[in-house]
């Protein structure tokens, strides 16, 4: 238990140690660079709220993947599910301007979660074909981004601008700003609630969570215990996809206020970073929140660090790759660690 909790810390230390090599190759002092990274993302109140803004989608995609991987549903498609959620959510959000916000926002959230869930469902091809879930969810990432790009250039295009974007969402579907003069919006609180209460509660306190954990720890034993793997995969896909869909809603309703085809960074989007976060968290919802903030700090801080030291901004991506690699390596080594049994 303690080992698993220490995983993010160990992976982070290893990442920062090895990550010092490219920093030094760029002629900068690693300690200065890391200090500037932290200072740039946590230096003032506005910057701190921006860390929350970035952490919200990371938390949701991280949670989506953590739940999926727990049940050995290999969802690589949080990116696609994010866009699917954004599309259905936007459809609700640009229409029905007469609805009061307390109906409109939940309506939009539900639509977005359904969108994400629908996009994850083809992953159940896993049942027929071993690589079905990996390949289908991966392919759906690109299909959804291309589909979004089609929508915002054609049927969903805002007739009043020449930009490839949807009409603005209505006032009643916009996540209110909670801290004036910042971008700290309601979606951040919703994301925290989903990760800390819904995600954690689901895994630790529900029968479904028990089944997910059972499949994750011993597939054969869980089958003998009467858990239907097909039903469980379907349920997991729905839950995982709906979490990722919520990340898309947050970006549309909280930040952009339009549907656009670049909701998520290219080419390492929130979906892939979600894989890094989920694995580094040891697939634990509570740690997902911590690690999401960590990567939010690294990604936001890289800009300041790069501007002041001349170290290329892509250090942030190198760090993500290293963090995922070290997490996997430590997980592997832990399996073979000699433990004293009392």
């Amino acid at each position: 238990m303690l080992r698993r909790a220490l995983l993010p810390v160990r992976a982070l230390v290893a990442t920062f140690l090895v990550g010092a090599i490219p920093v030094m190759a760029a002629g900068a002092n690693p300690l200065t660079a890391y200090y500037l990274m932290a200072a740039g993302s946590l230096g003032d109140m506005i910057a701190i709220t921006e860390v929350f803004v970035r952490a919200a989608p990371l938390m949701m995609t991280g949670l989506a993947i953590a739940v999926a991987f727990r049940a050995k549903f290999w969802n690589i498609g949080a990116e696609g599910q994010l866009y699917a959620g954004a599309i259905l959510g936007t459809l609700v959000a640009v229409n029905f301007p007469e609805l009061p916000f307390w109906i409109h926002i939940p309506f939009m959230i539900v639509a977005g979660m359904i969108g994400g869930a629908l996009c994850a469902l083809p992953g159940i091809l896993k049942i027929k074909l071993k690589v079905g879930d990996v390949v289908t969810t991966l392919m759906l990432n690109f299909i959804m981004v291309i589909f979004t790009s089609y929508l915002v250039q054609n049927v969903l295009k805002d007739p009043f601008t020449r930009w490839p974007q949807s009409p603005p969402i209505t006032e009643s579907a916009t996540y209110p700003i909670l801290i004036p003069f910042t971008r700290f919006h309601l979606g951040i609180v919703i994301a925290l609630f989903f990760a800390l209460v819904v995600g954690y509660g689901l895994i630790e306190y529900t029968a479904l969570g028990y089944e997910i954990k059972a499949v994750g720890s011993n597939e054969i034993a869980s089958r003998l215990a009467g858990i239907n793997p097909t039903a469980l995969t379907i349920k997991t896909a729905i839950i995982s996809g709906s979490f990722a869909g919520l990340a898309g809603i947050g970006e549309v309703a909280g930040i952009r206020h339009h549907l656009i085809a670049t909701l998520s960074p290219v080419p390492i989007g929130y979906g892939l970073t979600g894989v890094v976060i989920a694995v580094m968290s040891g697939l634990s919802p509570l740690w997902v929140v911590v690690v999401a903030f960590l990567f939010s700090i690294i990604i936001n801080g890289s800009q300041t660090m790069s501007r002041l030291t001349g170290v290329p901004i892509f250090l942030g991506e190198i760090f993500q790759g290293l963090a995922l690699g070290f997490s996997l390596l430590f997980l592997f080594l832990d399996q073979y660690r000699i433990r004293r049994v009392r």
Binding site: I76, F142, Y150, V276, P312
Partner: protein
């Protein structure tokens, strides 16, 4: 105008030649991924490795003014990455798809990091090289129709097609092909028969990595003359799709790659002409160009849906192998 151009004979030949040319990068990537998957390993690091290959070839060529050194450097990077990947995929084995994501993210970061470091952050001025030119093969290029389509291509393209033929023969008629197939289908049986599962996978993954890196290099030193941002543009992921559509068979994979080269060429042509959608024979059905972009991904899922029972995929794909010693 559109109609006149589509039916012109010269246009069809030019399109066919362009399809094969544009498919070259996909050919290397698909060959690399197919070889890797046939040995039982799914390498999701392909996209990142192609980006790294494109960067390596470009910077080496830029620094040395030698395209050949660019190719050699790409192969060396492919070997180095391939050895690391094969160690991870072969020895650790578990979570190889997640490891692949790690490789892709890290290599993406590394490639752009090194590029920025070398050229500085100067936005606006794009560094360029003189890329490979197509090679006209004497006599053969004079054959009507086939000549201009097949024999005025890049050296890269000829090599890729020859490699596909070689691997088709290897998999069909040689003991090496059989060894890779058995290791990919049933590693325990292979081991019992005295075949080293690890060594076979090291070779397959490393060779595959060389081809993936070469696929990236074609883009930066042949098809284009610069290392553009987003130069690989998902070709690695498409290659994973093509291996599935090609049913893990070399020649089918080659034709799948050429077919998607054609789709790409057509789509580029339509965009260049400013046509965002085609009207089919005057009917109300219009096809947006995004459909062409999404086609490989959509077809992959359809293929898995329809043919998953008949698919000849390596049964041990994604399964780690450990000798129980």
């Amino acid at each position: 105008m559109m109609q006149a151009e589509l039916i012109s004979f010269g246009f069809i030949i030019a399109m066919a030649a362009a399809s094969i040319r544009i498919a070259t990068s996909l050919m290397y990537a698909t060959l690399g991924e197919m070889l890797t998957e046939r040995s039982g390993i799914l390498n999701l690091g392909i996209e990142g490795l192609m980006i790294l290959g494109a960067m390596t070839a470009f910077i080496t060529t830029y620094a040395t003014h030698s395209l050949e050194l660019g190719v050699i450097a790409t192969i060396l990077v492919g070997v180095a990455e391939g050895l690391i990947m094969s160690l991870v995929y072969g020895r650790i084995g578990t979570n190889q798809h997640v490891w692949g994501v790690a490789f892709t993210i890290a290599n993406f970061g590394l490639a752009y990091f090194v590029y920025r470091l070398y050229f500085g952050g100067t936005a606006g001025s794009l560094s360029i090289i003189t890329p490979y030119a197509p090679v006209r093969i004497p006599i053969l290029a004079d054959i009507p129709i086939l000549g201009p389509i097949l024999f005025e291509q890049y050296a890269y393209t000829y090599v890729a097609i020859i490699l596909f033929v070689v691997f088709a023969i290897v998999f069909k008629y040689t003991i090496w092909g059989l060894i890779i197939t058995v290791v990919g289908d049933n590693p325990a049986v292979a081991d019992t028969a005295g075949i080293s599962v690890y060594r076979t996978r090291y070779v397959a993954v490393t060779l595959g990595a060389i081809f993936m890196a070469l696929g990236g290099s074609f883009l930066s030193i042949a098809q284009f003359n610069a290392f553009l941002f987003e130069i690989v543009a998902g070709r690695g992921w498409i290659a994973i799709a093509l291996v599935t559509i090609g049913n893990w068979k070399p020649m089918r994979c080659l034709f799948a790659a050429i077919f998607f080269g054609f789709i790409d060429a057509l789509q580029l042509r339509l965009q260049a002409l400013g046509i965002s959608e085609i009207t089919l024979a005057g009917t109300a059905v219009t096809i947006p160009f995004q459909l062409f972009l999404a086609l490989p991904y959509v077809l992959t899922i359809l293929f898995l849906l329809i043919a998953s029972r008949r698919a000849d995929y390596p049964t041990a794909l994604l399964t780690p192998y450990r000798r129980e010693e």
